[in-house]
């Protein structure tokens, strides 16, 4: 009987929905629709290149915000945001003593949303340092460094150092008084090391003081060297979180 009834007419919403999500192009990108069964939801996580950093299921205590405060995730989010804004900044910036400062001024004055772009990059960099420190504190106070996670804690310490170095190398690039003298003070501290102090300082600056060699070194480290290295350590970090059986929880 019921079979004979006419199918109810599609509502306007359904029409729009079908138009967007059930067309040929969309379905070529996303092979399945919204995953609304547990099986499909697990498949969505396992088969999506970005989501598969996650396991498909996690312990319920770990989705409580107060367990991680999302700090590790947010640190990583800052890194992604810095990469995007950083690439955009590279369009406008030439790392030479003659042009660097001028380019930043021009970026702020002439480029649409240029000032906003620079601000975002700057404040995200500060935020990332703070978030990484807070993440370290949360890991410590939840005792999550204990075996079998010892090595991932060490990877974390390396990530912290790399985060600081990324920020420090970026600091010089605007080539203003703030940048110049901060890097002068910072590298002088390196130079006071009891062994190889002067040598490390020379290596870092490409000379005895902050000049064009230092600028190109810092730039290269900032935009490619350190990001590559930190990406590798981030991959190991996330992989280890999975291999160690997800986040730590009481025995």
């Amino acid at each position: 009987m019921a079979n004979l009834e006419r199918a109810p007419r599609k509502s306007f919403n359904d029409l729009i929905y079908d138009l967007i999500f059930k067309n040929y192009v969309w379905q070529s990108i996303f092979r399945t629709g919204y995953p609304n069964t547990p099986r499909n939801q697990m498949l969505a996580v396992a088969t999506n290149v970005f989501l598969h950093l996650h396991p498909t299921r996690i312990h319920r205590t770990h989705v409580k915000i107060t367990h991680t405060y999302c700090l590790g995730g947010l640190s990583f989010f800052m890194f992604l945001g810095l990469t995007v804004t950083g690439v955009l900044l590279m369009f406008y910036y030439v790392p030479s003593v003659e042009r660097a400062y001028q380019d930043i001024q021009a970026l702020e004055a002439n480029v649409r949303f240029g000032q906003l772009l620079r601000n975002m990059h700057r404040w995200m960099a500060h935020a990332m340092i703070i978030l990484v420190l807070l993440h370290m504190m949360r890991v410590f106070y939840t005792g999550a460094y204990k075996p079998p996670r010892e090595f991932n804690w060490v990877v974390g310490v390396v990530l912290f150092i790399l985060t600081l170095l990324l920020s420090f190398t970026g600091y010089l690039l605007p080539w203003d008084q703030l940048a110049f003298w901060a890097i002068t003070v910072g590298t002088t501290m390196v130079g006071s090391a009891p062994v190889l102090g002067d040598e490390s300082k020379f290596l870092l600056l490409g000379g005895f003081s902050v000049g064009s060699n230092a600028l190109i070194r810092f730039y290269t480290l900032h935009v490619i060297g350190l990001p590559l290295v930190i990406s590798i350590f981030l991959a190991v970090h996330f992989w280890r979180v999975r291999r160690d059986g997800g986040l730590a929880r009481p025995l």
Binding site: Q41, V63, H67, Q105, W181, A182, G245, P250
Partner: protein, 299 residues
């Protein structure tokens, strides 16, 4: 005999499927929301506050004070209180190595995965953080000779002695350098046997002449060594030890985890205090100043 790795696997918590939730949607949703909140907050911040851009870099004009980026100002602060090699390189290196070594020292698996997992964890954290913050501040005040200024002002202000000044006999207690300059070292030399060994404390011969060109290896200036190296290092090693002994006496410490909690919290206290003082309380010539009195001069 089970290998350590195998033992670690063995003691891993059992999976309890019924306690698990799906990453999609539960976790993905939280991540999405927190990312959204942060994006908006940063957008708003960036729309309101501009990143600083001063004059073009000029090697001939030194700003006073010159400061490293804020996340290194804790080290720059240390620099004012000890030999630069300690402050800039050795102390941070040791701190990072110790930090990385925590899990290899505190291996007990009890109390992981929950906030403040031991009985006295909360107290240890609060005590470590507060005491370290206080003591660090006091030490900075003392090395900045503020106690001299304050004592003089109070005694003059109370009208007890209108031209009171810090007694010369207490010069050694003005600040850390006082142990160098405030003590009549030159009259304290002595001789052992035929050698006039420490006849001059300010040039104890150390290196073998002709083997090194580095003058600091040749002669040791003992008073300066005392004030710039022995005392700062003894303080950095001694205070944590005292903290541990104190909390042990209170009965708060039972495991290595407790010691780690105490020292880590104290470390965070020192880290924060030195960063804040270095950022907001150091004016020209790196003198201690309240934040509103700090102006940067270009010289």
């Amino acid at each position: 005999m089970v290998s350590r790795a195998a033992a670690a696997v063995r003691t891993r918590p059992r999976r309890e499927r019924e306690q698990e939730v799906l990453v999609w949607p539960d976790l993905v949703f939280i991540e999405f929301i927190s990312a959204l909140i942060f994006s908006i907050a940063l957008m708003v911040l960036s729309a309101m506050v501009n990143a600083p851009l001063l004059n073009r870099a000029d090697p001939d004009t030194t700003p006073n004070p010159s400061k490293a980026p804020w996340y290194f100002l804790n080290l720059q602060e240390l620099l004012l209180h000890m030999e630069p090699a300690w402050a800039g390189v050795i102390v941070p290196t040791i701190a990072l190595v110790l930090l990385a070594a925590i899990p290899y020292w505190d291996r007990d698996q009890e109390g992981q995965g929950v906030w403040f997992g031991t009985k006295f964890a909360g107290r240890l954290a609060i005590f470590g953080f507060t005491a370290a913050t206080l003591i660090t501040s006091l030490l900075i005040i003392w090395d900045g000779s503020l106690h001299v200024v304050w004592t003089e002002n109070i005694i003059r202000g109370l009208g007890l002695n209108s031209d009171f000044s810090w007694p010369g006999g207490l010069d050694w207690f003005r600040n850390l350098r006082g142990f160098d300059t405030g003590i009549p070292w030159d009259s304290l030399g002595f001789t052992i046997g035929g050698f006039t060994m420490f006849a001059d404390w300010r040039a104890i011969p150390l290196g073998i002449p002709g083997t090194t060109t580095d003058p600091w290896l040749l002669n040791l200036n003992f008073p300066s060594f005392l004030s710039q190296q022995i005392i700062p290092v003894a303080t950095m090693v001694g205070l944590p030890v005292l903290f541990v002994l104190f909390c042990k006496a209170l009965g708060w410490i039972h495991t290595r985890r407790d010691i780690a909690l105490l020292i880590f919290s104290a470390f965070i206290g020192v880290y924060l205090t030195t960063t804040i003082v270095g950022t907001a309380f150091r004016g020209q010539g790196q003198d201690l100043k309240p934040p509103w009195d700090i102006v940067v001069l270009e010289e």
